[in-house]
Assembly symmetry: C2
Homo-oligomer: 168 residues x 2
């Protein structure tokens, strides 16, 4: 999208632009997860990241389905937000030697990723409904539900195990 | 923090690092809000951003209070996540001419900012408790409660008014 043109004219344009933003984000997360799986030591955290990798593959497919349903071309727009969130994750991982402290940091980093997706899907669903596309909203809702479930699982794992081990 | 050194040794180091991350983020948001206030057209959205600017000033002071309580130097570490989220906000604002579509985009952008803060404060509170610093957790909880309230208000405003106007 051009920085100096006014490419977004309508709510529909805004919806498609934001769909392209989350499409970029999901693909970026897909690339970041294998490294997070490798860096995690706790078996439950590792398994959780593995499961989320499989879910993320489905999320990409569902976003593509929404593009098709809406008759818009499935393409990405660079999303500096997810780039920043992931670059912060990579940066902090490189600064931690202790595996238990690293696990606590990785879980928190993954939650920052989830929260970005939660806010974007929440917005996209509201906009889809406003545009009369409850069919698109329904597909996006499935992604949102899985992101929220992942976030809740990470909170539980961090508070019941990871943080305690990291602090010991 | 150095990219190739292992500066974070303990959970306490991780807590202080993340406190410096949110300290940077709050200060960055403080700089971004005046432009968002200026760009917003809807009076309720404008007033909401103004109120959040005042709250953010308090959040910065509370984070400084936690630094003091914890005996750590109040300094920032660059937070690429908030830089990315805010740069995305500025970018999309520049692409929208219609004031009602812009209001819907600004509300969504502000919610992305809130969600970043919600995840970071949630993590910081859990870590503070794990470290036996319920006093620090209490102060951070006040910031978290206000971020969550702002997010909820934005959802309500978007769904009850802004999105409808943007789509009309």
């Amino acid at each position: 999208m051009g920085f100096f043109s006014k490419d977004i004219q309508t709510m529909d344009d805004l919806f498609v632009h934001t769909l392209r933003d989350i499409y970029y984000a999901e693909k970026r997360i897909l690339k970041a997860l294998p490294e997070m799986i490798e860096k995690a030591s706790d078996p439950t955290l590792k398994a959780g990241f593995r499961q989320h990798l499989q879910e993320t593959e489905q999320h990409v497919l569902r976003v593509e389905e929404v593009f098709r349903m809406h008759g818009a071309e499935a393409k990405t727009v660079t999303c500096p937000a997810i780039d920043g969130i992931i670059s912060e994750t990579e940066e902090i991982s490189g600064e931690i030697a202790d595996t238990e402290v690293l696990d606590a940091a990785l879980a928190a980093a993954a939650q920052a990723v989830e929260h970005y997706e939660i806010t974007r899907y929440g917005t996209l669903i509201a906009w889809a409904r406003q545009l009369g596309r409850t069919d698109c909203a329904g597909v996006l809702q499935r992604n949102l539900d899985e992101e929220k479930a992942t976030d809740a699982k990470l909170t539980k794992l961090a508070e019941s195990k990871l943080n305690m081990r990291a602090a010991s």
